[in-house]
């Protein structure tokens, strides 16, 4: 119900302020590099909250990654994790990653809570490819994305990042799946590791097409 406001800064990746409501598809075949770029995008600024659905890292690890990306961002994050226990108010655990009914409810509850504060949020799914590989019917994943991820961006003042490890086996043609996802997302960032702590980002949809070399 909130109105879109000023953009979301991601200075560390040399990307200009990202317009509120933007959904970003993040793809790459090196999971660590993907994680580092994801954290830079999702780390909340002082007046924002991060909402992260993590399939492969524990809640504390996610918070540490966010802190590395932006000072204090881990303290402004709510994490829904499929790895490790719940802790405090900000880390909730997911028992069954394939229970998308419950996952959707938990995720939207966290977004709703974030909107009770400043209202500005950065949401992220790391990794969407893991969910795709765990569920039986891909249509359920698309329902989940439509209902619980893209919808929140349309309604609220936030940006969302959905990361896909292109080396994962998702039970469907990866290239074709990415082409489909690309058309539904506002922007696509392709991450290629070029060296230790180095990556090239091919960015499409954030004000044009560009290639950016970054240090992570």
């Amino acid at each position: 119900m909130s109105l879109a406001t000023e953009g979301f800064d991601v200075d560390s990746l040399s990307l200009g302020p990202i317009e509120s409501g933007t959904s970003i598809l993040l793809t790459g075949e090196d999971a660590d590099t993907l994680q580092a770029v994801f954290s830079q995008l999702v780390a909340a600024d002082d007046d924002e909250r991060s909402i992260v659905l993590s399939t492969g890292s524990g809640g504390r690890a996610v918070q540490r990654d966010l802190n590395s990306a932006r000072t204090g961002a881990g303290n402004r994050a709510s994490v829904l994790t499929c790895e490790g226990p719940a802790a405090g108010d900000d880390i909730q655990s997911v028992d069954d990653i394939s229970d998308l009914t419950r996952l959707g409810m938990d995720f939207s509850t966290l977004v709703a809570s974030a909107q009770q504060g400043s209202g500005r949020f950065r949401s992220g799914i790391m990794l969407c490819s893991t969910i795709a590989s765990e569920i039986e019917d891909t249509r359920s994943l698309y329902r989940f994305l439509n209902s619980n991820f893209l919808t929140e961006l349309r309604r609220g003042d936030g940006i969302g990042v959905c990361a896909l490890d292109t080396s994962a086996d998702i039970g469907a043609d990866m290239s074709s799946t990415i082409s489909g996802l690309q058309t539904s997302f506002g922007a696509h960032i392709e991450v290629e590791k070029t060296g230790p702590g180095q990556a090239t980002l091919t960015v499409d949809g954030l004000g044009g097409e560009e290639t950016v070399d970054v240090s992570l």
Binding site: M1, D96, S98, D99, L100, T101, R102, G104, M105, D106, S108, T109, A112, Q116, A132, I135, E136, D137, T138, R139, S140, Y142, R143, F144, L145, N146, S147, N148, T151, R154, R155, I170, G171, A172, D173, S176, T177, S179, G180, L181, Q182, T183, S184, F185, G186
Partner: protein
């Protein structure tokens, strides 16, 4: 207080089935009736809701969790059985961890916590939003879907004499590729309508049950050699019932760049298509689009002549 009867709401296009116990149903109905263009239809039990779903055309279901004869998830199960495209909102003061989702693992529902300070205001907004944006569909839509649908709407399909041309074309395509089925389909908001089909009796299919809704998102011809190997399609009962094994689809792209339909081949055995065959299928799709555009231009020109 809303006590809309079946007769009263039947004339309205956007009826929302509200399900809650006797004590709280009026709160929910009032919130829905307060939204412009929405009308509440009430049920206070799972059984009552299931009955109304079979009798009435509703565009959304809002249900609480605790009901006398079951739970809100039972209502949502009934929605998926009787009206699978209808979005559902679970409006409850129960936290997610108290909700039994064990037998509903891949059923997506909008969850709205009733304890939020602005919960009733949000309910109307969210209900409108899930209806307007078909927010729970199981397929991906292009970012510019509204522009695409506007493009499609510009074609007076029902008024254009294209049926015979397209039937000849699909006969030719099936023969050329020695395929079991060849069809031309237009992809509407919620379904694919088949304008012509050789080898099968296809009229329309819910969009999330079609392969074309995926194929239209690809720039090139999309080929699925065996749908059993692809998680996007191998749990799709509609495709299984039709006996579909392989698929190839090419985009029908309007002059403004929007994809409005597909020209497709289906076979009942595993099969691949080489680059030349894919290019030929794309040529057929462009031919179908040209026929559609020429017929539309002719109709428009005749309309202008009459007007003069």
């Amino acid at each position: 207080m809303s006590k809309a009867t079946t007769e009263e709401v039947s004339d309205l296009s956007r009826t929302v089935l509200c399900v809650d116990d006797e004590q709280r149903i009026d709160d929910v109905s009032t919130a829905i009736d307060g939204e412009n263009g929405l009308a509440a239809l009430e049920a206070t039990t799972v059984a009552g809701a299931a009955e109304l779903l079979q009798q009435e055309s509703v565009v959304c279901v809002v249900t609480s969790y605790d009901l006398a004869d079951g739970t809100g998830m039972d209502v949502i199960r009934a929605v998926r059985e009787h009206a699978p495209q209808v979005p559902s909102v679970l409006f409850t003061d129960r936290p997610p961890q108290d909700i039994d989702t064990e037998s509903f693992e891949e059923t997506i529902v909008e969850y709205l916590n009733r304890d939020l300070p602005d919960a009733h205001d949000r309910l109307g907004f969210i209900t409108n939003d899930v209806i307007e944006h078909s927010a729970q569909v199981g397929f991906l839509r292009p970012d510019d879907e509204e522009e695409r649908l506007s493009t499609l709407a510009e074609y007076d399909i029902d008024e254009l004499p294209i049926e015979e041309s397209f039937e000849r074309l699909t006969d030719l395509i099936a023969s050329h590729f020695d395929a079991g089925v060849a069809f031309i389909g237009l992809i509407e908001k919620d379904e694919e309508n088949f304008l012509a089909c050789h080898g099968a009796d296809l009229d329309s299919l819910t969009r999330e049950d079609t392969i074309c809704t995926h194929s239209m998102l690809q720039e090139d011809v999309m080929v699925i050699e065996d749908i059993a190997d692809d998680n996007r399609f191998n749990k799709n009962e509609q495709l299984e019932n039709l006996g579909i094994v392989s698929y190839a689809g090419a985009n029908m792209t309007a002059p403004n760049g929007q994809v409005i339909g597909q020209v497709c081949l289906i076979d009942f055995e595993r099969r691949s298509y080489d680059a030349e065959e894919r290019a030929e299928l794309q040529d057929f799709a462009e031919t179908a689009m040209e026929i559609l555009d020429l017929r539309q231009s002719l109709r428009s020109a005749r309309g202008e002549e009459v007007a003069q």
